[in-house]
Each structure stands twice: as structure tokens, then as C-alpha cells.
Amino acid sequence: MIKLLKIEYQKIAPYKTFWVLFGLYLAVLGVVIFGTQSFINEFFVDVRKNSPIPIPTVSLYNFPDVWQNITYLGGYFKIFLAVLIVILVSNEFSFRTIRQNIINGMSKSEFLKSKLLFIFTISLASTLFLFISGIILGLTHTTYVSFSKVFNNTYFLFVYLLELFSFLSFAMLVGFLVKKSGFAIGILLFYSYIIERILWYKIPEEVSQYFPIRMIGKLIDVPNTALMKIFGINFRNFVNFTDLAIVVSYTILFVFLTYLLLKKRDI
């Protein structure tokens, strides 16, 4: 396993495109996570002045709410990583290095395993980034810090990890299926943001709520802020076990389909 991860690392270590995109991803993620609270509060400054009822200032960074808040926000940016994965997978096809890897003695399942390990590592890196950000933000914004307060809702981080891993497995499948990076990125974006969304409206809710991108996206629901409570909107502030089970099943399906593709096709 370490060996496969080492091979993956050798492949990307000097690959500038990867590091630039990954750096950009972390930068954007950082700006959004650290900036959203003041953005919302600035936005409401004028509204607040004219409002007959007092609108409280939003606080996103209190322990333990910070975990759901930042993992929810982070979920929007997983598409960056998905694009990266698509590029890395389709590169193997356009350079035809997948062929040489296998000729040199890597089995097809080892090849798949190495990509999965890589996806897991990159998901873990993003989760760690959120963990560190959450700790920093929480400590600087929470008045009374206690151990249980800090770690109470950290399970959102694990759910976030699953959300990323599942979506990136989907991206990997698209990469293996389409093989051409531009085309694959197009299909990934088109399916995730357009096709499935159209289907949500066309197909009855009872069915369409189980569509993969939707399921993955709603693992972590919109956080309840004081602001939203004013409008009487109440979202889930917990993670549904059924949702988790379905997303895990989707992930297994994505990986299995990728495996079938690898097995059946000429490389």
C-alpha cells in the first residue's frame, strides 16, 4: 500500500499543474471559510439599520457549530478536487502510461488501488485543512472553551471525508470512462451541475432525492444559524444514517464500475 502511494507521489511530485490547482483550491477554501462570517455580517449591515426587528450578527465559528458550518461550506469546493482527479486519471490514458504501468508489472487492480489511495489522501488532506481551520476559528471565537464543546461535533469532519471520497470516486469513474481530460471535465461538470439538477425537477422527488450527486451533497445539510431561525427555517443539524449508507453504497458502485471498465477494456 505504501509502495502504491509512493508511486503515485512520484507521478505528481514535480507536476506543476497539480500543485498549482491544489494550492489554488486550498487558498479559495481558506478565504471562504475564514471570510464568510464577516461577509454575511457586512452584507446585512444596511438591512439591519432599516429592520424593524433586530437581526443578530451571525456567528459561524463557535464550537461546536463551527464543524458543521465549515464542512458545509467546504462541500461546495469539492468540484476543484474532482477536476484534479479527472486530469490525473485521464493523463494516464493520454500519455498511455497506464499501459506501460501494467506492462511493467502493476496489476489492473493495483492501478485502481493506487488511484483510490491517492483520492483518499487528497480527501484526508482537505479534511485536515478544515480541522486545523476549525480549531483556529473556534478557539478565537468561542467564549467558553471546553473539551466536549470542541470535539462534540467533529464527526462532521468524518462525514466530510466520506463526501469528498465519494465524489472523487465518481470523478475517477468519469475519468476512466471518458479518458480525454477536457471532455471528461465537461461531462463531470455537465452531469453534476446541469443534468442531475434538471432530473431533480423532472423526476418525482421520492426517486430523485436518491440521485448520487444530490445524496453526496446533502450528507451535511445547511447549518441552522440564528439568522435562519428568524425566518423560521430549520435544517437538519445532524447526519442521517440512511444517507451515509446510501453514499457508501454509491461509492462502492463507482469503484466497482471503474474496476469493470479496467478489466474489460483494452488498455
Binding site: 509502495k3 509512493k6 508511486i7 512520484q10 507521478k11 511530485a13 514535480p14 507536476y15 506543476k16 499543474t17 493523463n91 500519455f95 498511455r96 502510461t97 499501459r99 506501460q100 504501468n101 501494467i102 506492462i103 511493467n104 508489472g105 502493476m106 496489476s107 493495483e110 474489460k264 477494456r265 483494452d266 488498455i267
Partner: protein, 300 residues
């Protein structure tokens, strides 16, 4: 009997309506340099792709040392298929490290193989900055990593200049003389003749000929002759300087003569000995002329 390394049994592969490999059978013995000779599109690369497990055959089977193909076998085979395949943004060294890691061997041999193919000076340059010839040489270096028991080389001199071609052929011979079994696919008759000990000629995915290179590819002409006294005729022929071999076939002698000897010279020689032939005909074409015809057919 020599050990059979690779045994191919009635392999077939279609690409849509094109039959790329057609019921192909071939045995490769340890320690030999095998040539697969055939014009472009004759099924050489497809066959190699199948035995290395990157192309799925439609029917037929193959065995490596009597076993199904596994990674373990592949790790002991150094292979080049068609074109050099590397990560363009990685240096030669990094690319070869990946190869070594996949094969599960140390990095010690990397510098040595780079020196062998004369790329040591450029080892820290990215693959994409290499010329076609250098890429081809790097592929050869990659195939040599870890002293494999067998090397599969598909058109290894593609894109090389004449000097590079000569060097590569010498290198292949040198590797072979160390006991490495080599399977060389080429569309160049001259290359197979110079490098290989055995050859299989492929066309439209079928084996047309196979056997010892000396047997099938020597530059000879086959002439059928007969006279009243075959024994006397045979005895006289032994003095003929350009003789390759004589075989008796019924009431005729099949004579193979070397080089540019033609029927007239043979007749003249025998006439000088006082023998009058009752039959003289240049028999079926040599493999070489057959192969050249095959190639020109393609080019038309």
C-alpha cells in the same frame, strides 16, 4: 529440449471487422532471439499487447512458463510496445524510478542503464524535451531495468538515426548473448536477419513462415535440377563454390545457392563438368522475395 518461455495457442483478436490476429500459434524458447516480422498492420503489436495482458483476446490462449500471466511474470519482462510511454513532465530519472518501483527493485541499476543507452548526460531533463531517438533509447533503458529474463521489443529502432539503429542492434545482440530471451517485432527484414535466431513472419494476423532465421531468411536461390544420372550430378555439385545445400526430391535435386548466383552460372558450371541437365528451373521464391512482395503490396 529447451524450456518454452511463451506458448501462444490459436490466438485471435478482431477490431470490428478487421481481423488483427488470426488463429496465431507460436512457441518461444528460452535463450533465443525471436523475430516477429511483418508489414505494418500485420498484428505484431496486437499479439504482444495480448501476451502482456493489456489487450483482451477474443479467443485462444497463451502461457508464460506454463502459467497464466500474472504481475510476477510481467515484472521479469522488460517491454516496449510501439512507442515510448513515459510521463512527459518527469525527468528520465524520475520516469525510471517509477518503473523500478513498479517492478519492486532498487534504483541502483538506473544509472547503469542510462549510461548503456547514452542518456546519462540528459538524465535530469524532462522526457518531453527528448528527441524521438532519445525517447526510444529511454524506453530501451526502461526495458533493461533489473536485468529481466526476457525482453519484448516492439520496433525498438523506430525513429533512430542509422548510427542509433546500429548501436541498438548491437546492444540487443549483447543482451541476448548474456542469455536473455528476446522477442523482437519489426517490419524490417534486414533487422530481423541481423539480430534474430528465429523468426515468424506475420501477415494479416497469420503466421506465414516460422523457423530458424538461417533456414528461412538466408539470401539463397532455390533451383531444381535433374539429369540422367543424379548421383553423378550430386557429386559434381559439391565442388560448386556458392552451394548452400542439396536435397533430393524424387527424381530431382533441389539446390540452394548463395548470394547472387543465378541458374545460368550453375548450368555453365555443370556443363563445364560435362553434365547436361534434363531439367532446370528456379523454384518457388525465397522468403525474402516473398516478404519484399508483401511489403510492396502494402505500399501500393
Amino acid at each position: 529440449m529447451k524450456e518454452t518461455i511463451l506458448s501462444i495457442n490459436q490466438l485471435s483478436k478482431n477490431y470490428g471487422r478487421i481481423r488483427a490476429v488470426d488463429n496465431l500459434s507460436l512457441d518461444i524458447e528460452k535463450g533465443n532471439v525471436y523475430g516477429i516480422l511483418g508489414p505494418n498492420g500485420s498484428g505484431k503489436t496486437t499479439t504482444i499487447g495480448i501476451v502482456l495482458g493489456v489487450i483482451n483476446a477474443d479467443s485462444g490462449s497463451f502461457k508464460w512458463l506454463g502459467n497464466e500471466l500474472t504481475n510476477k511474470e510481467r515484472k521479469h519482462i522488460g517491454s516496449i510496445i510501439e512507442t515510448p510511454l513515459f510521463y512527459p513532465y518527469l525527468t528520465a530519472i524520475s520516469n525510471l524510478r517509477i518503473v523500478a518501483d513498479i517492478k519492486g527493485i532498487g534504483y541502483e541499476s538506473i544509472e547503469k542503464v542510462l549510461k548503456t543507452v547514452d542518456l546519462f548526460e540528459r538524465k535530469n531533463d524532462r522526457f518531453k524535451t527528448y528527441s524521438l531517438g532519445m525517447k526510444q533509447r529511454l524506453a530501451l533503458a526502461a526495458a533493461m531495468i533489473g536485468n529481466p529474463e526476457m525482453m519484448i521489443l516492439d520496433e525498438p529502432t523506430n525513429g533512430l538515426d542509422p548510427q542509433g539503429i546500429a548501436e541498438t542492434r548491437n546492444l540487443i545482440k549483447r543482451i541476448a548473448s548474456d542469455g536473455t530471451t528476446i522477442l523482437l517485432a519489426s517490419h524490417l527484414l534486414d533487422e530481423v536477419q541481423k539480430v534474430c535466431s528465429h523468426v515468424a513472419v506475420l501477415n494479416h494476423g497469420k503466421t506465414m513462415f516460422s523457423g530458424d532465421v538461417d533456414e528461412v531468411l538466408t539470401d539463397t536461390l532455390t533451383i531444381e535440377i535433374a539429369s540422367d544420372n543424379l548421383e553423378e550430378l550430386q557429386k559434381s555439385l559439391t565442388d560448386f563454390s556458392n552451394l548452400h545445400s542439396i536435397t533430393k526430391e524424387g527424381d530431382k535435386l533441389v539446390v540452394r545457392v548463395k548470394g547472387k548466383t543465378n541458374c545460368g552460372e550453375l548450368n555453365n558450371f555443370l556443363f563445364g563438368k560435362g553434365i547436361v541437365l534434363s531439367h532446370l528451373s528456379a523454384k518457388k521464391k525465397s522468403l525474402e522475395s516473398y516478404f519484399l512482395e508483401l511489403l510492396s503490396e502494402k505500399n501500393d
